[in-house]
């Protein structure tokens, strides 16, 4: 499409005070609860992450992540229950294969590996959630603003 005027406007504003925009797909049963715990324990973590609650890390269709990068997110975090802990008994094992493959492909498509992170975080690990978000945000900040998949 002939560059959308609106899109251009948006990026111009963002350039001035750039903050990493990160989207997180969190499993309802573990990581989302972990994020809740981090909140109720008053742990501080960067506000750059926008959370999407999904029923299971196995629900995370690779397309969701591909779409996030297509839309220009600077980083994507996916997190679910530790192996063996899945509420649906094996959703995270399926996720593991898919995400592993996607990870390789993202890099091959030219998205720096620093922009994507996958982790196992349980409902009890509020502290870990805060740390992971903190570290990942810093990592994405270092990688700089994502120029978009169409940038040449």
């Amino acid at each position: 499409m002939k560059t959308n005027n609106l899109k251009a406007e948006e990026t111009q504003q963002e350039k001035e005070i750039w903050e990493p925009r990160i989207i997180g797909f969190l499993c309802n049963w573990c990581t989302y609860a972990g994020a809740d715990l981090a909140g109720s324990s008053r742990l501080k973590y960067p506000p750059n992450i926008r959370v999407v609650r999904v029923p299971c890390s196995g629900r995370v269709n690779p397309q969701l992540i591909i779409k996030a990068f297509e839309r220009g997110f600077d980083g994507v975090l996916v997190s679910g229950c530790h192996p063996g802990d899945c509420h649906y008994s094996k959703g995270n094992y399926f996720a593991r294969r898919r995400i592993m493959l996607l990870k390789q492909m993202l890099e091959y498509m030219g998205i720096e590996p620093e922009r994507f992170h996958f982790d196992w975080i349980s409902a009890a690990e509020g502290q870990k959630f805060a740390e992971v978000v903190e570290q990942f945000t810093e990592q994405v900040r270092k990688a700089g603003p994502f120029k978009g998949v169409g940038a040449r």
Partner: protein, 311 residues
Amino acid sequence: MRQKAKELLESGEVKVVIGYGQGSAPFKSTPIFIEKPEDAHKLIWNPTCVNNLTVYLRDACRQGKAAIVVKPCDARSIIELIRENQIERDDVVILAMSCPGVLNLDALAEIDLADVKSVEWHQNGIAIKTNAGETIIPSEKAFASKCLSCELAESPIADEKFGEPIERHPIRSKYADIEELEKMLPEERRAYWARQFARCIRCYACRSVCPGCYCKECFTDKPCQLWVLRSTDVESNWFFHFSRAMHTAGRCIACGECERVCPMGIPLMRLNQKMRKEVREMFGEEAGTNPEAPPTLGTFDLKKDPDPCSE
């Protein structure tokens, strides 16, 4: 092969034989569907038989038992279709040809195509007869690039085999193209793909020709959706191609049809081969080898699967 096709139709064992027929030019073949025994002579077998005919198999098998002429590489698609419960093994009669390699039409750039009279296999490659005489195009130039890395001596699945198994000496690494890309910086790779996808006109020829793309409704075809835009901006094209590649992960058998039919010359096999390489390295699987195996991304291996957060 013609004889066998005729017999199958005469005995009523199959309703249709899907094979190659003479195309509109001597260097082109076209898919044909033989339903009457007396038409069996229309079947041809020569280096112009490039199509992967298994794309028609699902529809054909729904009408009844079908016979199909395949190259060893295409036969792997049948294994995939059986593996994914799209067809029953008993619904198809596989007429497997032994194949020295198929024609890469780009190799004929220096030959005046309007002048070509016939295209035949030759011990050193492909022989092209024109009004001016015969030209032998050496294998490394004449054959499609997938043929140069082909390791299949004969069809991995067959009911009837025609021709002797062919000794294979791949003269090119399957991954030659992708290794070149892997060496680049991520930034360069992104620019590379952006340039390729900028050309895409979204004719969906890649999808239509793919035997693995059998979804009843493709994610791109859903009406009134914002998930994948119909617009041909680089971002939407990128999303389409990347998604399609992920959808065929573990199922793509590298027949190379998507790349062959792309009118805009987008090197789609560089995407698919990378996927195949990763699937092979990480999960030890190769699409199109085992009709009994569960789908690659529909299963897992507790012990052996790599963990994405172990780094």
